[in-house]
Every structure is written in C-alpha cells, then in structure tokens.
C-alpha cells in the first residue's frame, strides 16, 4: 500500500463524479419559488370566488339585515374597528385583543405542558401506559361540555376561558408530541451517537429537534379547536371578546356586525396560522412547499 500516496493525486479525477445526475440548486430553488407564487395566486383566486358568490347572493336577496353585501360588511368592520358599537362600550379591536389574549395564554400553557408531558411519556413507558387511557377517555369529549362546570368552579373571569382552551389543546399536543417522537427513526439517534453526541445532546439536538415539525403540526390542528372553544365560552359567560360581540350583534339583528366579527376571527386565526407555518418552514427547511 506504499505506492498509493503517490498515485492518488494524479489518478484523482473522480470517475464517480462523472455522469452524475446534475443537481442545479439555484434552478431547483427558483422552481420552488415559482411554484409557491403560482399557488398563492390560486389561493387568492379561491378567496375572490367566495367573495364573488357572497356579493351575488347579497344582490339577489337584496336585504342587508339578512345578508349584507361584501363592501357593507367590510366598511362596518373598518368603521367599528376603533369605535364602540351600539349595545357595547368597547370597539372591535379591543374584543379581538381580549379573545386573542385568552387564546394565547391558554395555548402557550397547553403547548408547553403538552410537549413536556408528551416527552416524558415517550421516554418513560410506565407513564405512557398510565396517561394513555386518560387521554383516550377524555379526548372524544367536546371541550364545550365543560363550560358550565368551569363557570361553577371558576366563575366568569378570565380563568375559566384559559382553562377551557387548555382542556381542548393539551390532549392534542400530548398525542402529537408522542407521535412525532415515535416517528423519529432510531437510526437517526444511533447515527448521532456514533458521531460522538452524548445521550442528552442527542435528545435535544436530534430527537426533539426531529419531532419539532410534528409538534408544530399539532399546534396548527389544535389552534382551530381553540377558536371554537373561546367563541363558545364568550357567548355563554363573558362581557367581552369577539364571541360576546357576535352574540350581542345577533341579538340586535345587526347582521353586518355579526359578519364583521366572524371575519375578524378568520383574519386573526389566519395570522396565527401563518405564524405557525412560518415556524414550520424554519423548523423543516427541506419540506416540500406543498402546504
């Protein structure tokens, strides 16, 4: 094997590289960007079609107390955004902030708890066997069924709202954390260990890291449920929040204000979801841009 050192230098016109299927990174990324733009255009078209159908429906019905037109609704939305509406003392933006705050507090607590409990269950089998049936028993229950109970226990302040969000979000986060960790191939962990990583380093830098996209997907799923819960509890036991606004406006038959509230929820949850999707893209940069 002595002669090798001398030979290698001039022999090294790597034959294994010749004829390699060419990978053009720049073109690949350009294509992905173009596909994303194309999809965004289609998404906007979809929304425009919905608004168009709404406008046509409003024109046919021609009664703004049943179905106000699109521009009527949006001007109501803008009008009441920073002006108190009849039958209430707060402008719309305050209600949005109140609802958003309730959701965020409950959501952050539930996500943190869910990831913590899920990781613990994943790393310690007996705990998993113990908690699994509890989740399976409580998960099918609609969180809304707990509202009367929460009012009895915690009154009508902020606490019952936050607790309700946690009830809805926590099980989903536990389940998706465990599933995401289960989905990490054992070879990935073995690979890290043979690269010299300690057990702890591997847990944080590989296993939990590899589970992040699955955990964020769980967050996106549970966010929808959180809005359902918050609007419901605000309709039953609250004096503020978008749910309260919608119910009040409905009681006074102010249809355009009801629709404004609904649209406000739509926009805010879209913003939340866009944030989570941004996180997901950061967490998993190699993910195909399909979602």
């Amino acid at each position: 094997m002595t002669a090798i050192d001398i030979n290698v230098a001039d022999r090294h016109t790597p034959a294994w590289e010749a004829g390699e299927e060419t990978v053009d990174l720049a073109a690949q990324r350009r294509r992905a960007r173009r596909a994303r733009l194309h999809r965004t255009a289609l998404k906007i078209t979809g929304v425009l079609i919905l608004l168009g159908a709404w406008e046509i429906g409003a024109l046919i019905i021609n009664d703004s107390s049943i179905l106000p037109s699109v521009q009527n609704t949006f001007s109501t939305l803008v009008h009441y955004l920073n002006r108190p509406y009849p039958a209430a003392s707060d402008p719309l933006w305050k209600d949005i902030v109140v609802s958003g705050r309730r959701i965020l507090i409950g959501f952050v607590l539930a996500v943190a708890g869910g990831v913590l409990i899920g990781s613990a269950m994943w790393s310690w089998r007996p705990l998993r066997d113990m908690i699994d049936p509890v989740i399976e028993l409580t998960r099918p229950l609609p969180p809304l069924a707990f509202i009367p109970l929460l009012i009895v226990w915690f009154g009508i302040g902020e606490l019952p709202k936050v607790v309700l969000i946690i009830i809805g979000v926590l099980p989903i986060m536990i389940v998706s954390t465990v599933a995401a960790l289960d989905g990490v191939p054992p070879e990935l962990d073995q690979c890290a260990r043979t690269l010299g990583a300690s057990r702890l380093y591997t847990l944080f830098h590989v296993q939990l890291r590899a589970a992040v996209p699955g955990i964020i997907t769980g967050m996106r799923l549970s966010m929808g449920g959180a809005w359902t819960s918050i609007v419901a509890v605000e309709m039953i036991a609250a004096t503020s929040g978008v749910g309260f606004l919608i119910l009040q406006a409905g009681n006074y038959s102010i249809t355009n204000l009801v629709l404004s509230g609904i649209i406000a929820i739509g926009i805010v949850s879209l913003v939340f979801d866009a944030f989570l999707r941004g996180l997901l893209r950061l967490a998993d940069p190699s993910r195909p841009v399909s979602e």
Binding site: M1, T2, I4, N7, V8, R11, H12, P14, A15, W16, E17, G19, E20, E21, V23, L25, Q28, R29, P185, E187, L188, Q190, C191, A192, R193, T194, L195, G196, A197, S198, Y201, T202, H205, V206, R209, A210, V212, A283, D284, P285, S286, R287, P288
Partner: protein, 284 residues
Amino acid sequence: MQLSPAERELVKVTGVGKTFQRGGRRTTALSGVDLTVARGEFVCLLGPSGCGKSTLLNILAGILPYEEGTAEVNGHQVKGPSAERGMMFQSPMLFPWLTTRQNVAFGPKAQRRWRRSAPTAATTTAADVDEILTTVGLAGFEDAYPKELSGGMRHRAAFARAIISRPSVLLMDEPFGALDALTRAKMQEFLLDMWERFQITIVFVTHDIEESILLGDRVCVMGGRPAGIVEEIPIELGRPRGYEDLETPEFLGIKRRIRQILMPETPGRGRRQPVGATSAEDRR
C-alpha cells in the same frame, strides 16, 4: 506499510456472542465470533439476511450490547457508541433540518471540538468541513438541504460527516443497498477512492458477493446456526480495482468459491440450500 502489533489488531473481536430475548423465547444470533481487522484494511462481512452480520456490526458500533466475549477497537473495549467508530447506515440518515455543511459539522459540534477559527489538531473548523466537502465532490452544495441533493450526493455527504472526526474504523451497514445499480456502482468507486485517499479502516456489511469481492481485502462469509464467521477469504486481486475486474477469471474464481460456501450442493437432495437461515435479527 509496516504495522505494529497493535495496528494489526485495530479491531479485535474474541468469542463474541449475542442472544436476543423476545416473549420468553431466546434466539442466539451470534456465537463465538472471532475477527481481527488491521489498520487500513477493508473487510467485508458477507452473508444472507439474518446471518448476524448486522448484529456484529452494531456490536462493534456500540449500539447493541453483547453478553459474551470481548470486542475491542484501538485497544479500547467497546462499551457504547463513540466517535471513534464511525457508522454509515443503509440510508444516509442526514439530519433533514441541517444543510450539508451543518450536517458534516454535527459530530465536531457534539463533541465540543468545533472552533470558528484558530484550529488545533483536536478541533475542527468550517474550513475543514469545506475541504472535506470538496473532496467528496460536494463543493457548491454546502448550503443545500438533504432533500435538494441527489441520492449519490446524500451518501457522499453522509460519508463526509462520518469521516470528518477521523474515526479509527468506519462501519458500514449495507450502505448502498437501496441505491439503483448505476449510482451504486459509482458509490463503490467513490468509496474505494476515498479509502485509498484517507487510508481508512473499513468493516463493510453486504449480502452482495460481487460487491464484497470488488471492495474487500478480505471477505468474511457468515452463516450457520447459531451464526458466526464460516470462512475468511483473502481477496488477492490488485488495486485499484474497478468494474473491468468483474469479468477476470480470478474474480470469477473467487465468486464461485464464495457461492459454494453460501449455497453448498447438498448431495442426495439435488438442490442448493443456503447457509444460515433466518434468525430473529432481521425481524427486529
């Protein structure tokens, strides 16, 4: 090259045995395996599925505990995974959230041997990473994510990642098993090229007879029940080897010999029977 006695036994496996226990049933996957690998040697472990070749490799990697015998690498008893024994799996197992450069830097960072600058013998810097990426033909792809690379490129990145910490032995578990024939041939050439370049010691698991002869200095045929090394065949073909060598009479002679070990003629029954039927190992 003159090797010291310690270098001649860089990898030293003596009487290693492994028993799997599942549902009260015990299956002996390996029994009394002896194997020594010299520094710079390329040894192939060849055998059918379930012959214990991956079990042996995982024991060497420290991924799998063993009950009997001793396994030593570079004078140290194998007790757990370590950067001293690099491992490559059937799929490249790159971390999908890291770029090529970050993937290669993972090992040094995990071992706290990563320095931004001021390199010493014990540390690794970004320049080292870029250098090895150039060597494996990935210059220009340092910031690409694994999904953006071709199959062969991913394997070469995984190779760079495994080799950057200069392990004393590189353990490869059917690394090219899932590749298409053409990419696979290229990867074999690549591996031979790198082996000569870096003077690596390699233990390579495969079930492909041709691959083992093309690559190895020595082929250890595994089989039997309980499984072990049935026969060691030195491959006395010249180096460097290439695909042209596949048709030479010497090559074919070795191939025939190995096939006879793996599938001996059983007289009286008139059909070939493979050695080392399945054990629990591959059903894990």
